[in-house]
Symmetry: C3
């Protein structure tokens, strides 16, 4: 039996069907949607761009969800996809930044399993602070494997991984036009799953719309804010067009604007401030990671959202959702 978020599990629901629904919700949770239909559409959007990444998302989500079940995690958390989204992202990140050979697939399995342990650890620690874990397990697990390239001769990176260097001040590069803004807007949504495709971005927007109109609106506003602030500060045009400055603020906007705060004018202004901070932190973190040749991934979203959610109880004008 289905409802608007996915499968309703009863005593008669076969286990594989329940598991499939958990996995799809896990994929939906990458954009904070506990919604199996969003998961299906995310998967379609990815497969349209790349079968490798689509397959990776399935493997990663299945492994991290299975690990949680095998270790005896709480059923409601597994069902909500909470042990799936970090595995999904770890898998796609490893296949994006490492040569997709047998060792890398082995690492995908190992890393997805580890992401579940890290997720449980952070859930337990963050209970004290009443904070969400977000995609931190994905970021730290991936960083561990990418950094290990420098010691493990059989681990080979792709061209996508930045080369280690020292950060330097930069000049304005390229001219931003209306196509930069439009492609950057949709690219920012697609880049949440490392997809550089406007079409994939459109399908992701549709996926969000099915799950929550507010999340959809916030995602687009967040991406737009990321593009505009990066433009105003003089970021390189190709990076803006690719959505590099948008995907973190997409997630911050969804999180603050549609999940963790009670909607209202105060929440809207606060979310905008959070998106601005996310864009600056993205620029800063991606520079800070240059000496070790690492990408920032969704760490800017994670850090800014932790701060903005943690501050909420002290601000009477804002209320937690």
């Amino acid at each position: 039996m289905l409802d608007r978020t996915g499968l309703i599990v009863t005593a008669n629901t076969p286990a594989p069907l329940t598991f499939l629904d958990s996995v799809l919700r896990g994929i939906g949770q990458v954009m904070l949607q506990n919604n199996a239909y969003a998961g299906v559409l995310f998967l379609i959007g990815i497969f349209l761009n790349s079968a490798l990444f689509g397959g990776g998302v399935i493997v990663g989500t299945v492994v991290s969800t299975l690990t949680a079940q095998a270790l005896g995690a709480k059923t409601s958390d597994v069902r909500a996809g909470l042990f799936g989204f970090n595995g999904a992202l770890v898998a796609i990140a490893l296949l994006y930044f490492l040569e997709p050979n047998a060792l890398t697939w082995g690492c995908v399995v190992l890393a997805s399993a580890c992401s579940t342990v890290l997720m449980a650890a952070l859930m337990q620690l963050f209970k004290v602070f009443n904070l969400p874990v977000l995609t931190a397990p994905f970021v730290f697990t991936s960083l561990g494997f990418f950094l290990a390239i420098a010691r493990f001769g059989r681990l080979q990176s792709t061209q996508q991984l930045p080369t280690a260097g020292l950060p330097q001040s930069t000049a304005v590069e390229g001219i931003v036009t209306h196509t930069t803004v439009i492609e950057g807007l949709l690219g920012g949504v697609a880049q949440v799953f490392f997809q550089a495709s406007v079409l994939t971005g459109v399908i992701f927007v549709a996926a969000l719309l099915i799950s929550s109109w507010r999340a959809c609106v916030m995602a687009l506003l967040g991406s737009l804010l990321g593009v505009l602030i990066a433009w105003g500060m003089g970021a390189a045009e190709p990076a803006i067009r690719a959505g590099a400055f948008g995907f973190n603020s997409v997630l911050t906007a969804i999180a603050l604007g549609s999940v963790f705060l009670r909607p209202g004018l105060g929440a809207l202004v606060y979310t905008a401030l959070g998106c601005a901070a996310t864009t600056v932190v993205y620029a800063g973190l991606s520079a800070a990671l240059e000496p070790i040749g690492m990408p920032a991934m969704t760490l800017p979203f994670v850090l800014v959202t932790w701060v903005f959610v943690a501050a909420t109880p002290l601000f009477a004008r804002l209320r937690a959702a």
Copy 2:
């Protein structure tokens, strides 16, 4: 109506006067003094050295305090200047390390507002540990903007920002004389606000004396310890003279020696150990930040004071104030 720390607010006090007093206390809190007169003297000391930095401190403190009020922060916290000192420091740091053009002033406003959110977040998280936030929001907010220079072409640094490089072992440079020690002693106090001026240092010492004789004595002892340890370890003479090795231990000494511990012989020895640790951590952190070309600012003080305050409950010979 005034008392020895500033304005006493009654039902009849006009709002702008109350706000002015909160802002001045915010400036005083940069050296942990909830004292409007100390704030006034700090401001005078800064303006004597530079109108730009003086103006920056006012803008930063006003914006961060207003942000807290607009979001509905607790009145007693706003009145005590708790949402002012990080804004003050963020503003002066941005104007010190970035070219003071229109975009930088825009960043000063944005960063001061963000420092208030980070302050609230850390206050909320640190309640669990019964720890003070100190100037951590200033440090992390500033680092975010400075690092972003490498991605944003319109953000331009001044000569003051270190160039990214790899840390290397060093040789002893220059000869320390009695003028090094005296200038370093007062320079260390002035550098808390990024001011390289002995006169400003003298005024800051007077500001502390008005607020608390113990804070004043501790500040001088902390600065002296920083100078002597750096000298003994073979730090470069120009850096010792400029107060670079002193400003963090000034703050550690005020915090441990006059604010967070009950005074006594045990507290004095413990404070001295904290100042020694701060000087080493300053040297270490400023080297660790070389590959990303960033200054350590007051992070050494923050880290060491967190550790030394957090440890207090386990040491029966020490007592929290």
Copy 3:
């Protein structure tokens, strides 16, 4: 009066004898053994390899334990060696990476004292999370002093300290044979104390066996797993042979497999996953620390064990010991 872990203290036990027992337990705690006999054997193993390091361990453990007593730490914690093991490691690390002159010995005393304050701070903070501190105080205190080399001209490093550089991908180097595996297996145990000696490794294994057969078995399995995973991933043969990829997983295996989890099949599989994660994190962290020229020391063990222990309450198949 002695029992199987060391001295039983009564009203008549002379203070110096009690203190000696506390110090020996502190040395034993480097491998999580509250056992004075293990401490004696560790000391013998170290002295057989180097009198300098043996003397350093004694000085470091004595200073950190005395500091805890002087500040009034809880007697049961001091007696269990909890304020000794970080001092032991700090001392040996400083003597390993810094030229052993008078200033370095002064730093050993200062750093050992600081490690006790950091230990107390983390014990207090981690009470909230019910997590063990492990060797984090050793790692962070040592890093502070090593990094300070770049600012302090009188602090001189030995050849052992890595030179700062940018991490790069690597090729497989050397051929692993059965002697690589055997030497790596025992070297991994010896490297916990920075000793590159198979004989010392054998004595350490004996020390563990006296204290706990399970800890001994786990240490060997952890070291073996580290060697095998590093080999499989293509790590350099000389590093595998030296035990570089094993000493962190030795500690993770002892911690997860014999101290913090109730033994069982689930715990065994979970420990193996933790050892695999530790080996990857060791490779990653040692690369991440290249730009600042720092060694990873036991930080990989600390981080992975924190995560795997913190996650335990959420996994019904595992139970805390």
